[in-house]
Symmetry: C2
Subunit: 270 residues, 2 copies
């Protein structure tokens, strides 16, 4: 779409409150973001999404960890900043897919959350402790994918989100039984937002003037990131670890580490 940076419109559902209850607190402002590209990137970079829905007859929403990826079956070349659907796959989610089957044309209202912790922020006062984090939330309606070509598109998208290029480097084509037994949901997005916190410790003025506290409390940021270890071949593996895989495993740890270190060194709210 090029020229404009598309945003989800702000409404009562997705509005990010900036510490409404404690506007005078200086522990660091959490920043709200509505740009599609930023939100979709966070969703796509998250190994487990948390998908919530309301099962009929229960007072409680249900939240399930699932694997998902943003994409467009109608326009596969769409970029991350374009309007996209979210495809999700879950062997963990029989209940939700059952709801999806029942809901038919209306779709199941769902909320999808993606969150990363980038570091501990340890201040003088316990009340000024925080995390550096990145989080995104999407709202939308879930539909069961029934078209076979769309199923294949979504399975490739999701498989390649686990390891890029993995789909074409696994056994193809899928068997009829595999396609039949796999349930996928397409979520038509209604709105979304992202929220993040980065930077160093933000302490209150009275704590920065408290000699006793400054002389006794360690303050700083501890970066945190997700890392991949040495791959462990299966008992039936006969193949050397291919380059597409080893490069991704190395980059995964390296990129996450860089993100955590860069978050720690930023000015809060910058």
């Amino acid at each position: 779409m090029g020229r404009y940076e598309l945003e989800y419109p702000k409404d009562a559902t997705n509005l990010v409150k900036r510490h409404g209850e404690r506007a005078n607190n200086e522990r660091g402002v959490a920043t709200g973001v509505y740009a599609l590209e930023k939100i979709h990137s966070l969703i796509n970079g998250t190994q487990l999404l948390h998908v919530s829905f309301n099962p009929p007859g229960s007072p409680f929403p249900v939240t399930l960890p699932m694997i998902g990826q943003m994409g467009s079956f109608d326009r596969p070349s769409a970029s991350l900043g374009d309007p996209l659907d979210l495809y999700i796959h879950g062997y963990v989610s029989a209940r939700m897919f059952n709801v999806g089957r029942d809901a038919g044309a209306e779709g199941v209202p769902v909320c999808i959350a993606a969150s990363h912790v980038d570091g501990l922020v340890l201040a003088v006062s316990a009340f000024n402790h925080s995390y550096n984090y990145r989080s995104a939330v999407l709202f939308g309606h879930a539909y069961l994918v029934t078209d076979e070509a769309e199923k294949l598109y979504a399975m490739e998208l999701i498989t390649d989100s686990v390891v890029p290029q993995r789909w074409r480097n696994s056994r193809l084509p899928p068997t009829g039984a595999e396609l039949q037994s796999t349930s996928l949901l397409r979520i038509k997005i209604a709105s979304g937002s992202a929220k993040f916190r980065d930077g160093g410790v933000v302490d209150d003025k009275h704590d920065l003037e408290n000699e006793d506290a400054l002389n006794s409390v360690w303050t700083g940021v501890v970066p945190i990131w997700s890392t991949m270890g040495e791959p462990i071949p299966s008992g039936h593996n006969r193949v050397d670890l291919p380059k597409y895989a080893s490069e991704f495993f190395d980059e995964f740890s390296k990129d996450n580490k860089e993100l955590a270190l860069s978050a720690a060194s930023k000015q809060p709210g910058a």
Copy 2:
């Protein structure tokens, strides 16, 4: 409680389906667990919980990342296998706390999810790919904590979940403004369950007999864990990193790595 291992009763809300839709699939059985100790340990070992609730007037559930910890204000010596409340704290959650204020005596129905990815499981067929993971879900009713002693109990519990012993090693006592501006929720648990998958690759028989596939597709497990990097002191820090902190940071990375490696080496479903 000692003698018995308490479990949450199975009902329609928390029942873990064991791949109901694909019982013949052999990719590895996800195991359902109802023991309080296992579920509470997973919740307490998770840096960001995903808390879902239904805001009045919206069709969508809302899921927020929050910090929480299981505990018992009435019996602080209770162990992880005992019935406990979940205390949560969220500057990210003004909307939920507002709902909490309105809901009064009834409490707000919530779902809390905690999930960890322990590894990628890469099989011959894309459809037999999986994650090693540990996940827990709790259902309950949220109430605003108004009693000052209970607020202090919960803040200590939650602060020490970020870094053990941090509360007593930060600036104490809290100021009146800090206590007043901090919103905490106590969640009375109604039910819960956990689900996990560990072990190696599980491929279908026809793939294990497919010479072309075996000679071309790398299969195995890639362990994944969360790690903490070198602590970065704040600009106003004057103190050497204390032992309670450095030991925890080291153990965090070491323990998570061991969990991921041990999950990778287990027999699936064992």
